[in-house]
Every structure is written in structure tokens, then in C-alpha cells.
Amino acid sequence: MPNNHSLSAEHRRHDRLLVARFAVGDAGFGQDHEASELVRRCNECAALAAEISAISRSVGKLPAAPRPRDFRLTAEQAAQLRGSRLDRWLRTITGSGWATVRPVAAVALSIGMVMSVVGVLPILGAAVPAPASTFDQLPVAGAPSPEQTSDSRNGQSGPVASPGDAQMGVEGVTSPEPPADINLNEAYVRPTPAVEPQPGESNDLPKALPGTGSSLRDWLLLSGVAVTTLALGVLALLYTARRRYNDPLLR
């Protein structure tokens, strides 16, 4: 029997793992030949293969240890383990069948928050498209080019305060007869109504037209809050169920 601790220099260079695999018929396609050559030519490899084979056989013959007790459940244990209907449902939602709910709820939460923020910001009202005739189309001699007026139209310094004002400005600019001495930059951002209200008519202009900025913002805000609340509720429920009912042995 070869001494394992005084292996020959040649045997040290041999692939012992390959021999161990070959010993149990697991060398793999293409390596059988190399392994059988090693076993045939090297006595220590042959001994290694025989011993690995013997170890594998002996481990397989190890007697089973008798169990010390009966592991069947009693009715009381079973009732305690099953829990209430709520327990069982909460345990169910921690399972893999509900694995997609959490990312979906997270996405819904993001969308809801974006909807809420967009609903709160005033940009929607300001972004209502203007009617066809705009300042750029006014045939005023000596009027500044659109590039010259762009700074005030972008709202950098102009007093565009509300969507209502913007609406009024559009209407003022599109009046068929603009005043001859109009300061165009001022006229764009601070217009006057072109048509005086007739007697008996109200001069209160609508803050927003139906179906445009304001109602869309309200809808976005309400929907966003609803979606956010729902998603937060689902995530909280899943988190609670996971914390309480997730079974580490099912990992």
C-alpha cells in the first residue's frame, strides 16, 4: 500500500481529482482515456482509484441511525401550526406566487408619486397650447424678432403669474386691432382684453377652459394620491406578512 505522505515526484504531478472521478466512473467524455492511462502507468494513482472506490462503497453501506422518536404531529400541534384563516392568507402572500406583486406595487408607487407631483406643479396650465394666431404672426412694422422677445416669453423675467393670465395674454395679442403704440414685449406678457364687456356682461374671464389644464391637474393629483396610497398599502401589507410569516427553512 502506498504511503500517502511520501508520494513520488511523478505522482505529485498527476491530476488526483481526475483519478478520483475516474474511480467512480465519472471522468467525463474525453478524459476517460487520460485517467485510465494514469491508473495503468502509476501505481499510486491505481491505489488512489481503488481507495476512492472503497470509500464510496463503504459510505454507501453506512447503517442508518435509528430515529429517537416519532415525528408525527398531534392534533394540537397541527391546529397551532395552521393558525387562523388570516394567518394562512398572510402566509400565502409571502409565497412565490405573490412574488410579482411587490415589484408591481413599487412601480405603481413611483407612477403615483410622479402623477401627484405633476398634478401639483403649475406647468400643466401654462403648457396649454395657444390659439392659432400668436404674437409671432403679428404684422407689426418694426416689431422685434421672436428671438428678441424669447427671454420674456420663456418666463425668465416676465410676470406670467397664472394660467389665467396666459389665457388673457393670448386673447389680447390676437385681437384684430392691436394698439398702435403697443410695447410688444409688455403686450405679450401683460395684455389687455381686446373686447370690452358689453353692459350686463360679466368681465370675469374664466380661469381655465373646461377640459384643459386645471381639470387635468386635478385628475392627475387625485389619481396619483389614490395610486400612491394603494401601492403603499400593498407594500406595507407584504412587508408585514414577510416579516412575520416568512419561513427561513423555505429559502
Partner: protein, 226 residues
Amino acid sequence: MVEATPPESLSGVDPAAETPEAADADGAPVGKPVDTLQRARDRALVERAVGGDLEAFNELVLIYQDYLFALVVRVVHDRDSAADAVQEALFSCYRNLDRFRGDSFRSWLTRIALNAATDVLRYRKRRPADPYPEWEDDSWQPPAGEEASPERRTMRRQTARVLTEALAEITSDQRTAIVMYDVEGFDYQEIADITGVSLGTVKSRIHRGRLALRELLSDDMELLRE
């Protein structure tokens, strides 16, 4: 505790017979039909147990408790810890029976039991006061036939003892893989599925584990050649 008395129809079924290496009474290899029948039997019992039939679950316990204990005790190397781990595994199994979606109940149960065994090993690693208790229990010794001579019985005991001690010395991953392959008869793919590692990792653990065993058993190889 009530002594286990397996029902006549089930007590004769050895869970290990599901494996490809298993053989029937005549030594003929047991093939897929038996495997399929046992899986169908398990699924039927699981369905009844999910419906609230405790007796159905206890039939499953009767079928698998010996196998589970034999597997877990080789991994944790301590009978008391193994018994606790098996009990925990069966509790977990019962609690989550409606989440069983796989094809093989035996593999699912084995995975739960091995997770419980791994928890025992982790706990022991954190408190290494008594990492591998000595076992003096005679029940660990291999059963000897009536015809066995005292010398032969002594030799078998000695073989089982040195092998068990050597198994306790290698890493828990290697030990688990070797026990599952050589003792319980799982194939490589089943072990990979149950332990959640790749096929190559399973093979590597088994072969390297055997090489480690060979180093540990170098002075006792004569026993193993018997």
C-alpha cells in the same frame, strides 16, 4: 409519545427506492414507474393534507421520517440536534404545505430538512463550545446479522465509526453532498436542485470530499477494503 406504526400500505415503501441506484428485492434496478407512482402517491397525500386531513400528513411523516433523520444526523453529527432539526422541518413543511409546487415532495422535504440542518451547523459555529459531540450511542452501530461472528461485528462497528468520524471532519458542504449521493442515492442534478448550487459544484464537492476522506482514512483503509 405514540409509537409510530406505519400503515400496511405505506410502511413497505422505502423512500430511497425512488433513486436510480435503488434496487428491488431481486436486485433489479428500480426505474421510473416506481418513482412516478411514489410521486403520485405523495401528491395525493399532500392534497388531502392541504385540505385539512392531518392523517394524510402523518402518513407522509411515517414514510419519510426515518430517511430524514438518517440524512440530517449525518450532516449535523448529533442525534439530539438532528431530531430537533427534523421536527422543525416537518413543522415548516406542514405550515407551508399549500406552497408545495414542485414535482417531488421528497426533494422539497429534503431541502427543508437540509436547511434546518444548516441552521444547526450555523448555530454551532457561532457557539463552538462543543462542535462535534462524541457519540457513544450503540444505536449508531451497524446492525449485525445473526450469523455474524463477534470479530466481524466488531470490525463493522469500527468501520462505521472511523467513517463517521472522518465524515465529521470534512466540510459540511462536502459531507452533505457525499451523504446525499452515496448514502441516500440522489443523483447529481437532484442534489444541485436541492442545495441550490450548480451541477459542477456538486461534483466538485463530492470528488474533493472523497479525496479529503481518503487522506483522513489513510491509516484505516484496511477496514474499508473488507
